[in-house]
Amino acid sequence: MFRIPLIVRGEVIDDCLLEFNGRRGEIGFCTPDVEHYIDKIVLQRPSAMADLYSIDFESILDYLSELSERLNFTNNAHMQEAFDLSCLTSGLSESILRYQYENIPYYFQRDVVEDMTENLIGIDNIEGWVEQRPRNNNDTKVSIRAFGSRAVHIIAGNAPVLAATTIIRNAITRSDGVIKLPSNDPLTATAIALTMAEMAPEHPLTRHLSVAYWKGGNESFESKLYQPRYIEKIIAWGGYASIQYVTKYLQPGIDLITLDPKHSASIVGKEAFENEQTMREVAAQAALDIASLNQEACVNARVIHAVCGTNEKGLANVNRWGEMVYEAMQKLPDTISTQHKAFDPQLREELDGLRLFDEDHRLIGGVGSEGAIIISQIDEPVDFSHLLACRVANIVPVDDVDTALKSVNAYTQTIGIYPETLKQQIRDNLAWQGAQRIVSLGGAVNLVAVSTPQDGIEPVRRMCKWIVDERHSNNLPLEAI
């Protein structure tokens, strides 16, 4: 049974007495009883945030870049152990996970963190009070500074980089973070925190991070934790699965930031079908957006609208193109994509049903776990499009871009588009239909860190408290009193 130690402010607590049995063949693990340590986990006194302000941003960068070196997968035993466990709990296969773990140090590098901070918050805003541009005829001077908050992060576990990102965000915002581990990645955040504890046990950044597992819905613990006197923000990934236990503790004083589950899509313009060569190139780009990370992420394309027309010629084109996408998907390197190791049985049932009645939707592949491309022969996706996963995508031919545009909704995160000119043309429309990230086809799953707002909601800015200092002039109406 795997041990998941509790990391509280640099202290490693390893009395793993509580066992969480993996249900029905899932992996089991044991942890300390978080309830015993609640007083250490919460930051009782807000003044204890002060030490985070004794260090400047340069030293935060120093700290993270040293951590980057120590997280090197080849010689960090904690990360190796996290990897071993992830191989059992994650939907990603071993080769992809290995590549992901090897890449984690990159996110902590000095220039990467610096760029990210500047782009997402502005280094000036976290380093000091930034005076705002005065308005005409107003002598009131306003300064603003972004302060860290005391936050609980309920993180998603479908890719290990999410744990790393959360720890970096906690550090650059000078926040006090408690990470609640997901059972599909119960050790990555712990491994990073362990490395921090060994590297600099007394450093403020180490002292303001705790990583714990408790069973979501543990009322006795959660009712003590989610108190406005201890917690200002809850950052919850994954929608219902993570907020179902949190909502009852919401009250004024606790800000809930939800990073809701999303799906992504692609739009392929008619230019893609101009010649054989282009069709093949665009197919490879589409395959990348579908199958990278085994389609485990929200950024992966699931429904692909192809503006090739729905007449006979259009269908012939899209059917041939679908074959190309399928072939390209099968050729992706195993660091990016493999056969899915736990093919969704519900999706398989749907594919099996579809295969026998293929008048409206043609199916390529999907016999084993190699993935599948469903090519609609009508201008609409399959009714089970919400289940598309495990490298199964649905290509939908349409007569015009408008049909594709109107199919986007608020749950659509990323839209990959070919060609670039089409992207320029429709990006505003996409935004008001609900899309949140618009990328060139093939770039949906950007495997290197890009410092951009997430899901259209700037969660990193929202993790901060934006405190205002107003300096008033002498003409306040005091004489009236």
């Binding site: 576990g157 581990l181 059972s183 929608g239 699965a241 999303k262 049932e349 909704n409 749950y411």
Partner: protein, 469 residues
């Protein structure tokens, strides 16, 4: 006179005429022979008349059934009965829906004129009028209706078998013979409709109760298949953004409110229904068919109003389907019987797609009738687990009764099956299934698995949760 085994080999439909009790005393060797001969017969008979079966058989390169496991690749995924696109309904393409339905039945639907249909209800009526079919629908968890091409006669066969079960399950003539001695029917559901459950209860009322006058209903109206399909259609429409919502029929959207209102008034209506049932049939023996949680709620309501021991001993309850995820107190069963006033209950495992029911014995095992070939499949590979010992896997079967559609199906249920080597503790021979049955889909998303990739459906659940909590 031919033996039971010979008669069942001759035609599985002879099961209706055979002694029900004796049919569960047949040795496994004989059962296996009934299975193999029955499977051969049905496959040979239906292969060329059911297009989807023909397609599957030729893809799998299966010409004939030589041994029982040859059937496994020929069992339909249960999704075939809902593999039509929803848009057929939104666009009134009932011609295409008919063409799809025609691939699932040996009946010829190609001459049907469905051009005037603008609703599912109408489409089903046209089929009923023009063919020997009396199709039913089910509503899956996704809200998409499955349609089954069952025939008019098959409903009577099924209900006759239930009558046999009630009479003979615990020994010959151990229970009432409802076909001869009618009892009033208490139906905590709609009066009519083409939902599988309602088709069944309508036929039961005819056969066991002598007609609708001898029955009381929760809702005296018919359940519209179009209304039943709404939830699924709206969900799919929402997942398609603005376009989806534009496509859904406005008059149907308006009926959503009707449904919501009816659901809101359900507790009140339930009270009136119980009062009516008590006024008409209180103290008398009755027939009742319902799932446990509904009965439990009715009992609580009854107790709160000082009502218990409502009906007379000698009444019959047909139930099944487990607790539907409800967390009930340990003594839920005795509370229900205390309220009802009788404890003659037949608990069965079945599903809309299956004509047969598996009755539960005193050992709480569900017994498989000899004219159904049960399989326990490896959930990973889909291959049949051996017919020996105790096996847990995905339940699949070939129902040998239907002779106009293919009775082979792979279900979404995980079951544990035994009985091939030695008889059940209750003394009955042949395969049986453990009491604990669950859906494979429940297995998904174990505790605390958090993902950033998700769906509007998950989102909607989250919103409902917030609104209702």
């Amino acid at each position: 006179m031919p033996s039971i085994v010979e008669r069942l080999i001759e035609d599985p439909l002879n099961f209706v005429e055979c002694d029900y009790y004796d049919c569960f005393q047949i040795s496994c060797a004989d059962i296996e022979q009934i299975h193999l001969e029955g499977a051969k017969k049905r496959f040979d008979q239906l292969r060329d008349s059911i297009p989807i079966l023909r397609k599957l058989a030729s893809e799998q390169r299966i010409e004939s059934i030589e041994q029982i496991n040859d059937l496994v690749p020929l069992l339909f995924p249960h999704t075939v009965y809902k593999s039509y696109p929803f848009s057929y309904l939104e666009k009134n393409r009932f011609d295409k829906l008919t063409r799809w339905f025609n691939t699932l039945t040996a009946e010829d639907l190609s001459q049907l004129d469905v051009s005037s249909c603008t609703s599912i209800d109408c489409w089903i009526k046209v089929i009923e009028k023009g063919t020997g079919l009396k199709p039913c629908h089910t509503s899956g968890t996704t809200g998409k209706l499955s349609f089954l091409p069952r025939s008019h006669d098959q409903w009577y066969t099924q209900i006759n078998l239930i009558g046999n079960m009630i009479r003979d399950w615990h020994g010959k003539n151990s229970g009432p013979d409802l076909k001869k001695n009618h009892l009033p029917y208490v139906q905590p559901h709609y009066k009519s409709g083409s939902a599988a459950l309602l088709r069944g209860s309508q036929t039961q009322i005819e056969v066991f109760s002598g007609g609708a006058d001898n029955a009381v209903y929760l809702y005296p109206e018919s359940l519209s298949a179009d209304v039943a399909s709404l939830a699924g259609r709206i969900r799919v429409a929402e997942s398609r953004g603005e376009l989806g919502l534009l496509r859904i029929q406005p008059e149907l959207l308006a009926r959503r409110d009707e449904m919501v209102e009816r659901e809101r008034q359900r507790p009140e209506r339930m009270k009136e229904f119980l009062q009516e049932a008590i006024a008409r049939f209180g103290g008398k023996p009755i027939v009742l068919s319902s799932v446990w949680p509904i009965l439990f709620d009715a009992a609580q309501d009854g107790f709160a109003n000082g009502v218990s021991q409502v009906f007379a001993p000698g009444s019959v309850l047909i139930s099944g389907g487990g607790l539907k995820g409800r967390d009930l107190p340990d003594d839920w069963r005795s509370q229900i019987f205390e309220f009802l006033g009788f404890d003659q209950a037949y608990e069965v495992y079945s599903m809309s797609e299956m004509m047969l029911l598996f009755p539960s014995c005193t050992e709480k095992n569900y017994h498989v009738p000899p004219v159904l070939v049960p399989f326990c499949l490896d959930p990973e590979t889909g291959e049949a687990l051996p017919r020996t010992g105790r096996q847990t896997g995905r339940f699949a079967y070939l129902d040998l009764l239907p002779d106009n559609y293919w009775g082979g199906l792979v279900t979404g249920d995980e079951v544990t099956m035994s009985g091939w080597d030695e008889p059940c503790g209750c003394g009955r021979a042949g395969p049986y299934v453990d009491h604990e049955i669950r859906r494979y889909s429940q297995k998904e998303g174990g505790d605390d698995k958090i993902n950033c990739a998700g769906t509007p459906e998950a989102q909607q659940r989250a919103i409902n949760f917030i609104v209702n909590s």
